[in-house]
């Protein structure tokens, strides 16, 4: 049996140890945030945080997670009480279809926990593993900048400027 903490709650998992974390999250734990995009570690749709670092849950066997801490987008807030990164994505309307967005938010969360004032290059580099097909990139970067300001206690009123 594998036991780990998901969004603050300890869970013991029945799935076979070789099952990728993604299927445990979406199946047994009924969490929607992490998405199946490629199953190959190429697109980032399945990104969650393990001990604070972004990982591709589609290629991470659940047996590697024993006694570790997993965070998904559900752990950052809810539609009624969104966390600062989620709120910034809503404020910037940073989604078209939105299928990639949970992965983007998790990468942004990990970045901002590590670096409270990332420059453009740091933001682009942090998001590089994640694909967006709708072309929402420009807004996603703006949302990350907005979230950085909020988390630093300097929330912004209007819209943020474009990427430089």
């Amino acid at each position: 049996m594998i036991t780990f903490t998901v969004n603050g709650t300890r869970r013991t998992i029945a799935a076979a140890p070789d099952t990728p974390l993604l299927y445990v999250l979406r199946g047994e734990l009924e969490l929607n945030g992490a998405k199946f995009g490629c199953g190959l570690g190429q697109c980032g749709a399945c990104t969650v945080l393990v001990d604070g670092e972004p990982v591709f849950s589609c290629i991470t066997p659940v047996m590697l997670l024993d006694e570790r801490t997993v965070r998904t987008i559900e752990g950052l807030g809810s539609a009624d009480a969104p966390g600062p990164v989620q709120a910034a994505f809503i404020a910037e309307q940073a989604a078209q279809c939105g299928y990639c967005i949970a992965g983007m938010v998790m990468r942004a969360q990990a970045l901002l926990e590590r670096d409270g004032d990332p420059d453009d290059d740091a933001i682009l580099a942090a998001l590089e593993p994640s694909l967006c097909r709708c072309g929402t990139h420009v807004r996603i970067v703006r949302a990350v900048k907005r979230a950085a300001r909020t988390m630093a206690g300097k929330p912004m009123a209007g819209k943020v400027e474009a990427v430089r």
């Binding site: 749709a45 809810s78 994505f89 809503i90 989604a95 279809c97 939105g98 694909l131 709708c134």
Partner: protein
């Protein structure tokens, strides 16, 4: 009889009879043509938008006794924000707060039939219908209040769901409505709200679907969990036309957790209790199947030649003056490879056979056409099949959605009483989706002594861009079955919207011009609708030629375009983009830098879009970065300005990806670009840096779709900027790093 090939309809196949149906359709020319949305090309009743086909007001709007309203649309949310836009339109005309509205989207059991959610038609079709229906409902409610109170309707006002009048008269919509009040046909004209009085339309209302999408809500068909639901996966053939010669499925059937292996001819699927078990079973089953394949794909390295060598059905779509110049200044062959829609979420559907009724939750763009195709596939009466739209990842045209719906239905039929969820694997989506067709466009043009265009000829070669359901033979499962359906006939979408020839008629005023559509009835690779259809390549070809002609004539490319235009709205977007970019005063670019400009009106019928941009190229690697973009758009009356911006920004980024990176790869047997490594798309490091979108306000004018307006101009502006930086005209897409590097190395011709 040998099993017919699925897609590559060779002349051989036609001759030996498997393509007989296609030939019969082909000979009938464009008479069988349909529209891209599936709507009738000629109005039935002369009512606005989709009211024309579905005139009953209560088919669109119902008001409950509490005064809240439910709006019904046959269109679907595809990530383009249509849900929010339609709610805005309804709220504005009903004079009801947004929070008191609910919206039901595409569902054959509940909503009007609005064909396909496609072609940038949704606001135009459904938005127009809902706007007019809502205005008429509001007037009916006011009329009812007048009747009941005896007060003249001129003294009554509707606001916030209440009709008010003199002496404290106040009647809520819920009190006024009755079962039959709205069960009437729409009138031809409506009392529409003056744009100056808008309080909800033309406002950047936040999208209603975004909060759930950023917090892990159940937002997609992929997220649905029905009681008793099981998981299916499909084993697809390794290539088009592969024949299944042997399969012993026994070991997979015996796998713990596997409920069933489903086989019908070459259609192979597995069903398991758990998703991961289904995937493992699918992989095992795939290794047990033996296939016979044929080498029937064209030579990828010579795709333009291969396409131009196919039989054609020619239509002259423009012929004015004397287009046969004695000598052309330019004669250029432009081409694009097959392009993948590349949805980030592979296609998914859930099907459930309960008694004699099949329900399918699907992210199809057309619930009604898919319902009909599934009824054919399953040999069920259409009224026993219900298709309900549930969102998927962005599709940008016909991806695997319909096929996944058919796959799920085939599996659900084999396991009655359990909902079966099927999601495609990444490699299946990349190999089997109907691609945006590879195409060729040849443009010849001559300059007269006055420096204006004296002759112009455009020829375009393309297969069908419209192979959507309707006929069961459009679905992969129907082609793989033991008793396969015939391949669906290739549809040549007619002008004025066009298919492969979309936007092949320039909007420029040219005294001597011809354009010919060389429609290819054969389909070397499976293809169908992808954002902007032929418009992307045709605009790339036209706008590259305009740019080149301006250079040859020693004229500024913006001024050169303006002198060939009469359409004032076209001129306005060009002027705005140029001004916002500071085009006139652009400094001389640094080494490796360049500027590009391009314009188009999508389909010559929808939104106008002009784009000016600047690039920085690293000559050693050919790496191109878009450093600045200024776009101007005219989408008629705007419903949601932030929604328009989002669509245009998205179009700019997506077209950057198509133009710089993309092309489907294949050998003579198989599609080989089956993942994101073999089919790279734009990542963050290459995202255009500053993107500005300017919207030209057009209050009161008809809605024009915005979702496909930017792709053509963006591709062309990139080509023109590369020309500016390198001195070389690149005409073969993609304009990838190796082509750009070569262009930067070659000595530039005299300018």
């Amino acid at each position: 009889m040998t099993k017919p090939t699925i897609h590559a309809l060779s002349r051989r196949a036609v001759l030996r009879g498997t393509g007989a149906l296609i030939l019969a359709f082909s000979l009938s020319g464009r008479a069988f043509a349909q529209t891209e949305t599936g709507a009738s090309a000629t109005p039935l009743r002369g009512l606005p938008g989709s009211l024309d086909a579905t005139p009953r007001l209560d088919a669109w709007i119902r008001i409950a006794p509490d005064g809240n309203a439910t709006i019904f649309t046959g269109k679907a949310e595809l990530g383009q924000g249509i849900r929010t836009a339609l709610l805005q339109v309804a709220a504005e005309e009903l004079k009801l707060p947004l929070s008191r509205l609910d919206l039901i989207t595409a569902d054959t059991g509940r909503t009007p039939n609005e064909g396909y959610t496609a072609a940038s038609h949704s606001v135009q079709d459904s938005g127009t219908a809902i706007r007019n229906a809502a205005a008429q409902v509001r007037e009916i409610l006011i009329g009812e209040a007048a009747r009941r109170s005896g007060v003249s309707r001129a003294d009554l006002t509707a606001r916030d769901g209440v009709v008010t009048g003199p002496a404290g008269l106040s009647l809520g919509y819920g009190e006024l409505v009755s079962d039959t009040l709205l069960h009437v046909d729409a009138a031809p004209t409506s009392t529409l709200t003056d744009p100056r009085d808008f309080t909800v339309m033309d406002r950047p209302v936040p999208r209603v679907d975004i909060p759930a999408k950023v917090t892990g809500g159940a937002a997609y068909v992929q997220d649905m969990r029905l009681p008793g639901m099981v998981h299916g996966r499909i084993v697809r053939p390794p290539s088009y036309g592969a024949r299944l010669v042997a399969l012993d499925a026994g070991p997979v059937e015996a796998m713990p957790g596997v409920l069933k292996v489903v086989r019908d001819g070459a259609f192979l699927g597995v069903i398991a209790e758990q998703e991961w078990t289904a995937i493992k079973a699918m992989r095992w089953l795939a290794t047990l199947a033996r296939w016979e394949e044929t080498a029937q794909l064209p030579d990828e390295a010579r795709l333009p030649e291969a396409l131009m060598a196919l039989p054609t059905r020619d239509t002259t779509i423009l012929d004015v003056g004397q287009p046969d110049a004695p000598a052309f200044t330019l004669d250029t062959l432009f081409s694009r490879p097959y392009l993948a829609h590349g949805s980030i979420g592979p296609s998914c559907a859930i099907a459930y056979l309960e008694g004699d009724a099949m329900t399918v939750w699907t992210h199809t763009q057309g619930v009604y056409p898919l319902r009909d195709a599934l009824a054919g596939l399953l040999a069920m009466p259409p009224e026993k099949v219900r298709c309900i739209h549930a969102e998927g990842a962005g599709c940008y045209g016909q991806n695997g959605a319909d096929d996944a719906g058919a796959d799920a239905a085939m599996l659900a039929r084999a396991l009655p009483g359990r909902p079966v969820r099927v999601q495609w694997m990444r490699e299946q989506e990349h190999a089997w989706e109907p691609f945006g067709p590879g195409m060729v466009a040849r443009v010849r043009a001559a300059l007269g002594p006055d420096g204006a265009i004296s002759a112009w000829q455009h020829d375009v070669w393309s297969q069908s861009h419209m192979m959507r359901p309707g006929p069961p033979g459009t679905l992969l499962a129907a082609r793989d079955k033991a008793e396969p359906f015939p391949p669906a006939p290739p549809v040549d979408l007619p002008m004025p919207e066009g298919g492969g020839d979309r936007n092949a008629v320039p909007l420029y005023v040219l005294p001597n011009a011809r354009a010919v559509n060389h429609f290819l009835p054969e389909m070397p690779l499976r293809g169908s609708s992808m954002r902007s259809l032929g418009g992307y390549l045709n605009v790339f070809a036209i706008e590259s030629t305009m740019d080149e002609l301006a250079r040859r004539a020693g004229q500024d490319p913006v001024a050169f375009r303006m002198r060939h235009l009469q359409d004032e709205r076209a001129k306005a977007v060009i002027t705005t983009a140029a001004e916002r970019f500071d085009w006139k005063d652009r400094p001389k670019p640094p080494a490796g830098g360049g500027y590009g400009f391009a314009f188009a009106r999508y389909k010559n019928l929808e939104a106008y879009c002009a784009i000016a941009l600047e690039v920085a190229i690293d000559a050693d690697t050919g790496r191109l970065l878009v450093t600045r973009v200024a776009a101007a758009v005219d989408t008629g009356q705007v419903v949601n300005p932030d929604g328009v911006r989002n669509q245009i920004e998205g179009g700019i980024v997506q077209a950057t990806s198509w133009t710089l990176f993309e092309g489907v790869r294949f050998d003579r047997r198989r599609i080989t670009s089956v993942d994101w490594a073999a089919y790279p798309i734009l990542r963050f490091s290459r995202v255009p840096r500053a993107v500005e979108v300017h919207i030209i306000p057009r209050p009161g004018l008809p809605f024009l779709g915005a979702g496909e307006a930017a792709q053509g101009p963006m591709g062309a502006a990139l080509g023109n900027a590369i020309r500016d930086a390198s001195g070389q005209r690149l005409a073969t897409l993609p304009l990838d790093a190796s082509r750009i590097r070569h262009a930067m190395m070659d000595p530039p011709p005299l300018r």
